[in-house]
Subunit: 248 residues, 2 copies
């Protein structure tokens, strides 16, 4: 698969974008880097003239954009996602630098579609949104003024994706994904398959009295973190769900 | 000299900018990366309300901007400059990739002020302007649509400047150890703790009728492979064993 094919498997997901101008500028930023699959979760105003104006020749990406009602919909069918966030977060979600995130996503793009997820302009991604992504990536910034414009952040990440997609052929070094693939043998489970497993796991832990829905603590977050590290395969998800179904 | 001091010696020069919004967005892009010295050569409209609006907290850079009549004025006192241009040029000006350009400028920043020079929105830098710079740098882009927005191009170059200024000997690609370390926060479980978990898991799968001891297939091997990939922590083993214990 060549660099352009790999970039064709990259989704850019914008959650709850307030300003249509940012959606247009994002489309332009994506297209300059050869990334074209735009997903919009509940945009405040879309379609919009301002989006078309700022797209400046990338209106085709806006026309082809997929508008979704939830992050689950936007990630359905992807194999991995990176949450892009400028906020410092206390929960210890696995973090990658932008070049690391790009190299990792491009590696996984050989297996299926991958996603970069961006939050709303004012407050970024919610914790619940971050928890649905495998990694977190933060663009290094001036601590005294770290708020990149949304489309500017997309530009930097898309630039790194292009670097990674076209660098692959030259690098003789084994990538992290390739290395962990040594422990892997089958097809990766998709986002939605894994989410269904998590729902069933949570439900069953309530049934057996291990999880108190009134006081869940961070049990599901811990479980997500554990299984995120392993990079579940389809068949493994089937086995795990079979085990859960067998519990009465 | 530390990273912030080096970035303090970086000028961003915009030549003949048409849209004041781009000047404001450039100020924001610069400030997020810790670059603050903005030089404007004959801007079409400046100062402007639209510039202030798009600066979104970086108006201080606009107030401190130096308006010049020529590139010579804007580069006065600098030691080297890089021309940033998306156009392919037949003149054989020495070219650097963005990370090379950033690393080179940051090296020279130890000696004095350095500059990144950007042309007008429609046609970029003139040949005469490029000839006044020591190097040319081009952000790699989609050949079918290579026109980055001016402020987006500044964002990418300023991002690379920050990376170079704060560079620690990093390869860009996450090492496998770094990748799994990011995913982990607690103390790793010991071999025997994990073995006890596997025994309990196997036992419970038999109890619930999911595993037939007469025909176990390779179920436990598969489970071992999955959890081996994740590198279980002590507390995770405790949680998993707690779940198994709660299954009656």
């Amino acid at each position: 698969m060549n660099g352009a094919d790999l970039l064709d498997r990259v989704r850019v997901v914008l959650s709850h974008t307030t300003h249509p101008g940012n959606i247009g500028a994002t489309a332009r930023a994506m297209k300059t880097m050869g990334v074209s699959r735009l997903y919009l979760i509940n945009p405040k105003i879309f379609p919009a003239e301002e989006a078309n104006a700022r797209a400046a020749g990338a209106e085709d990406l806006l026309c082809a954009a997929t508008v979704c009602a939830s992050l689950d919909q936007a990630l359905a069918g992807t194999v991995v996602a990176v949450a892009c966030s400028g906020r410092h977060r206390d929960l210890s979600h696995p973090q990658l630098t932008p070049p690391e995130a790009a190299a990792t996503l491009i590696d996984y793009a050989h297996d299926g579609e991958v996603a970069l997820v961006f939050g709303t302009e004012m407050s970024g991604l919610t914790t619940a949104e971050v928890m649905k992504c495998r990694w977190l990536s933060r663009i290094p910034a001036n601590p005294a003024y770290s708020s990149l414009n949304l489309a500017a952040a997309v530009q930097v990440m898309a630039y790194e994706m292009r670097n990674a997609a076209f660098a692959k052929a030259e690098s003789g070094r084994a990538s992290p994904a390739a290395l962990s693939a040594g422990l892997r043998s089958g097809e990766l489970a998709s986002f939605d398959e894994i989410e269904m497993f998590y729902r069933q796991l949570e439900q069953k832990m309530i049934v057996i009295g291990f999880l108190d829905p009134a006081n869940p603590k961070r049990l599901m977050q811990r479980m997500r973190r554990l299984f995120a590290r392993s990079g579940l395969e389809k068949e493994e998800v089937n086995i795990l769900r079979g085990i859960l179904s067998a519990i009465k």
